[in-house]
């Protein structure tokens, strides 16, 4: 289809993207400039190139002007490369005769100097036109999707996603770091705004996970390696020793009774250290799987080897195995759902609120355990001094909406603070004061719950608390914790003496979110929560195909939103699985066989072991390297390594890259 002189015929399309591009870049100027470039036959501007009429323009021009190369200057290829490749193909061309220029994220969105941004867009366009001329026709390849799914994290998000997939008949591996699934939800007492008991709605789902034949549940385990790509991930899961044989233990707890420690001695993480457990323990009564574990840091036998081992004697199933080693499993899955959750803000980072200094300052999660009937106090709300409080202050936004700690709103604290206010009043009849910046109750039934609390006589004081102190100004404050705050509705500074302070800690990314991000090759936003592919239109996808997000690892959210998102992630995985196969980008490396000297330099460099050396074939000497296209991921390492330059990579050919650079450096005439 090239013109009579054999030159390429390029069509150029510059997109306004509404005002996203046109608000900064002079689109008309860029399109006119495009028309002056060598090989360009048609150069147009259009309001929305991704719309149907926009794509239609491309088909028409291919036919009317016998175009054989297409360049669209618009947004990121991440968003619309596929759209325009399809449009190119629909016009009758090979889809790889298309090239995309990102003048939105790389120009209009990041520059304020309009003329300079226009010049940059022109430069980028010129480079793309030079490059696209060198493009070659390529064939995509399809690979089958492995239908198995890995779900990482056994909180409510992971549980719901795993059950949804299992019910659809898919095999699921649910990997949880802790000894039990359940996550933070298992530690809550009631859930807002309906006040239904968290355990009552969660534990049946936990049991279903354990019982479901399609779910392989690995707790006390971590993913330690991820290889491969969408449809075919190779995952290594390390299961840490719990020193109890999971298959044999029935959870009867006789070993725990028999432990030489008559009383618990180790702070119990499930109760945030408000109670003590023994070295051999069950995380909590409804733990799933219902299997005990041994804490080697606390067990006498691990420390000195001189324990009577009464636990082993007590177990009539011989389930305790103090020599147990870690177990490494290799699995293959087609897609993965990351649901690793959040961590509560460390309130010690706000020392002016006195946590750790004044015993009756609690975190909100500690109070969840205090109000819980199976908690460390059996549901009695009492201070660390054992006294029932007469007045309680709840401080909102601790570690949220504060540029000194975390800038974001944690979304759930207003509502859980209301819930705790209600529960504390119910349990103690204390006066409860909420100190808030703004009440944020945007959810179904949330505002109504707030109104209910106002009528219940809970006090609301608008203002960020300055400090919690035991410095008494007069007798009425003696022995109390005084909350000092500017009441911004009264316009005055107040001192509110209370007996107990609750810090409503915000939600933040888990400490090791960056490690998980690297392991799974996904992205984090600046604050550290995992980044969705698109905030509106691909909220559970990541930039890596086949990996989806659910729950608070993507950002703070409450239980209803978490469950909805987990369902969405599961359905994205299902749609991928049911498609059966997936097209892969043909960006693989290939060897120019005649040029390869058989030096083998490339072979150890390949991270995917895709290159092998072929000495002979059918009794004929070959002595050349060969690339297995199915294993090649297109990383380009071998291309750069080859001393004779005989390895090339599709879509990244030397002439394409050199011409692109030359185009960029060829300053406007």
């Amino acid at each position: 289809m090239s013109d009579p002189k054999g030159r390429a015929r390029v069509g150029v399309y510059v997109c306004h993207c509404g005002t996203n591009i046109a608000g900064v870049i002079n689109v008309k100027d860029v399109a006119e400039y495009g028309a002056t470039l060598p090989n360009v036959v048609v150069s147009r501007e259009y309001k929305y190139m991704c719309s149907d009429p926009g794509q239609e323009l491309i088909h028409q021009d291919i036919h009317e002007h016998a175009l054989d190369r297409i360049v669209v200057a618009s947004c990121s290829p991440l968003l619309h490369e596929h759209t325009f490749r399809t449009a190119t193909e629909a016009g009758g061309l090979n889809p790889f005769f298309f090239h995309m220029v990102n003048i939105r994220e790389h120009a209009s969105w990041v520059h304020t100097d309009k003329p300079a941004a226009t010049v940059k867009a022109r430069d980028m366009l010129r480079a793309a036109v030079k490059r696209v001329v060198r493009h070659r026709a390529l064939e995509t390849r399809s690979v089958p999707i492995n239908p198995d799914v890995l779900v990482l994290g056994g909180g409510i998000a992971g549980i719901h996603a795993a059950l949804t997939l299992a019910k659809a008949g898919k095999k699921v591996y649910l990997v949880e770091r802790e000894a039990t699934i359940g996550g933070y939800m298992a530690q809550f007492d009631k859930t807002f705004p309906t006040l239904d008991c968290a355990a009552c709605i969660l534990t049946p789902k936990m049991s279903s996970v354990k019982a479901h034949p399609n779910i392989t549940l690995w707790t006390y385990a971590e993913v330690t390696r991820v290889d491969g790509y969408v449809g075919n991930f190779k995952v290594e899961v390390t299961r840490y020793p719990r020193y109890v044989n999971e298959a044999l233990c029935s959870g009867c707890m006789q070993c725990v009774e028999a432990c030489v420690y008559k009383e618990g001695r180790v702070p119990d993480a499930f109760n945030f250290g408000l109670s003590k457990r023994k070295p051999i323990y069950m995380p909590f009564p409804q733990a799933t799987p219902s299997v005990v574990l041994v804490d080697p840091e606390a067990c006498i036998d691990f420390k000195s080897g001189k324990c009577k081992k009464t636990c082993i004697e007590a177990c009539d199933r011989d389930a305790i195995d103090l020599k147990q080693a870690k177990d490494v499993q290799q699995i293959t899955v087609g897609s993965m759902i990351v649901a690793t959750g959040f961590q509560p803000f460390d309130v010690k980072r706000t020392p002016y609120y006195g946590y750790g200094r004044y015993p009756n300052v609690f975190t909100s999660l500690e109070v969840e355990r205090l109000v819980n009937a199976s908690g460390p106090t059996g549901g009695e709300v009492v201070g660390r001094d054992g006294k029932k409080p007469k007045a309680v202050g709840i401080i909102h936004c601790v570690g949220s909406r504060d540029k000194n700690t975390n800038a974001w709103c944690s979304r759930v604290c207003c509502m859980y603070s209301l819930k705790l206010a209600h529960l504390i009043r119910e349990h103690t009849e204390a006066e409860v004061f909420n100190f808030y910046i703004d009440m944020r109750t945007p959810g179904k039934g949330f505002e109504e719950f707030y109104q209910r609390l106002l009528h219940e006589g809970v006090h609301f004081i608008r203002g960020r608390v300055a400090e919690v102190t035991d410095w008494a100004h007069d007798r009425s404050e003696d022995g109390k914790l005084v909350i000092r705050v500017e009441d911004t509705l009264l316009g005055t500074v107040r001192r509110v003496p209370v007996d107990m302070v609750v810090l409503s800690a915000g939600l933040e990314p888990r400490e090791d979110a960056q490690d998980v991000r690297r392991l799974f090759n996904i992205s984090c936003a600046t604050e550290g929560f995992f980044l969705e592919r698109h905030p509106k239109l691909a909220p559970v996808n990541t930039t890596t195909d086949g990996i989806f997000l659910a729950g608070c690892c993507q950002g703070p959210k409450d239980i209803p939103d978490t469950v909805a998102q987990a369902g969405a992630a599961a359905s994205e995985a299902l749609s991928l699985i049911d498609a059966g196969e997936i097209e892969l980008e043909p960006n693989t490396a290939y060897i120019e066989a005649d040029h390869c000297s058989g030096c083998k330099t490339c072979i150890p460099m390949c991270p995917y072991s895709a290159i092998s050396f072929v000495a002979e074939r059918d009794q004929v000497a070959v002595n050349r390297a060969e690339i297995n296209e199915a294993l090649c991921k297109g990383c380009g390492t071998c291309v750069a390594t080859c001393p004779s330059g005989s390895i090339h990579q599709n879509l990244f050919e030397d002439d394409q890259i050199f011409d692109e650079i030359a185009g960029l450096l060829e300053f406007a005439r």
Partner: protein
């Protein structure tokens, strides 16, 4: 205590006394110089220094205040020094503020430059201002102080009082909300401290002179809370804090608290004592309140004093 093969060069500090250390805070200067001598560090007083620009200058004529502070920094720069030690919190804050505002506001920088230029002084904004607490903590460190300490503490528990200006708004001396470096240094040399809740609250500043009912009240609260927190003396790093807490105890005794006797010491006095300094060279004779308590604590008969 240098590692083998490592020749430690002795530290030398250029020192800006400011008015207080030459008058009401004489004990601070005496103990500071003694302490650094015992630590093997040299201290040179900045020649021809002038008022730092604190007091009412900043409120009445900001540009004059910046120019005054900048002159001291420029004098330091002319000696070839990169740093200037300012032990008084007010001096420290004004000097820091001058550095900061010159960087942030072109107008301030320009008026300061013009003033320095007329005086024939270097106009660059390059000298780092340091407070002795931060120097002790980072350049010397708790471990080194511990290894050089020669006395056993024979006194009571101390409340560490940081005041406002040394830790706010600049946070180089210590954490602005919960400073703990004084405690770390004192505990390292064996001096017990208490968890003093009002460690960064206001001492009243010049209100003790202008509106004594407010100023003295604040001092009363600071003393009362220190005692409630279990302290028998207060240790400070600011001459104004020390003066306020020390000088008005007689009035508080007359008004409300008959038995009040709380010595108010400088950090440098306590550390200097632990390093082997003597009573007078640390200015311990200058205490107004709690002098008897101090005598009892720190002049135990020589034979009883356990050398470490």
């Amino acid at each position: 205590m240098s590692a083998p093969g490592h020749t430690a060069s002795p530290e030398r500090y250029l020192y800006f006394p400011g008015c207080s250390l030459k008058s009401t805070g004489a004990a601070y200067e005496e103990s500071l110089l003694t302490m650094f001598r015992l630590l093997g560090a040299g201290v040179d007083e900045l020649e021809d220094w002038n008022c730092c620009g604190a007091t009412s200058y900043m409120a009445i004529s900001e540009h004059s205040a910046f120019a005054l502070a900048a002159r001291n920094l420029a004098l330091a720069q002319r000696t070839g020094a990169h740093e200037l030690m300012a032990p008084c919190s007010a001096c420290y804050l004004v000097l820091m503020k001058t550095l900061d505002y010159r960087k942030r506001y072109a107008q301030v920088d320009q008026s300061v430059r013009e003033a320095l230029d007329r005086a024939g002084l270097p106009t660059t904004n390059g000298v780092r201002v340091r407070h002795p607490l931060e120097i002790l903590y980072t350049d010397f460190g708790a471990a080194r102080l511990k290894s050089m300490s020669v006395r056993k503490w024979t006194g009571g528990r101390l409340a560490c009082y940081y005041g406002c200006q040394a830790v706010r708004p600049y946070s180089e001396v210590d954490d602005p909300h919960q400073p703990t470096r004084m405690e770390a240094l004192l505990n390292a040399v064996g001096v017990p401290t208490v968890d003093y809740t009002l460690r960064t609250k206001c001492c009243g500043g010049s209100l003790t002179g202008t509106i004594p009912t407010v100023g003295v009240r604040l001092n009363y609260e600071l003393l009362k809370e220190a005692v409630r927190n279990g302290a028998e003396a207060i240790v400070t790093i600011c001459p104004l804090c020390q003066f306020n807490l020390d000088a008005y105890q007689a009035q508080i005794r007359a008004d409300i608290w008959k038995t009040l006797e709380v010595p108010v010491l400088y950090l440098t006095q306590v550390l200097g004592w632990m390093l082997g300094g003597e009573w007078k060279e640390l200015g311990l004779n200058r205490s107004i309140s709690g002098a008897k308590v101090l005598r009892r604590w720190l002049t135990a008969p020589k034979e009883k004093e356990a050398y470490v």
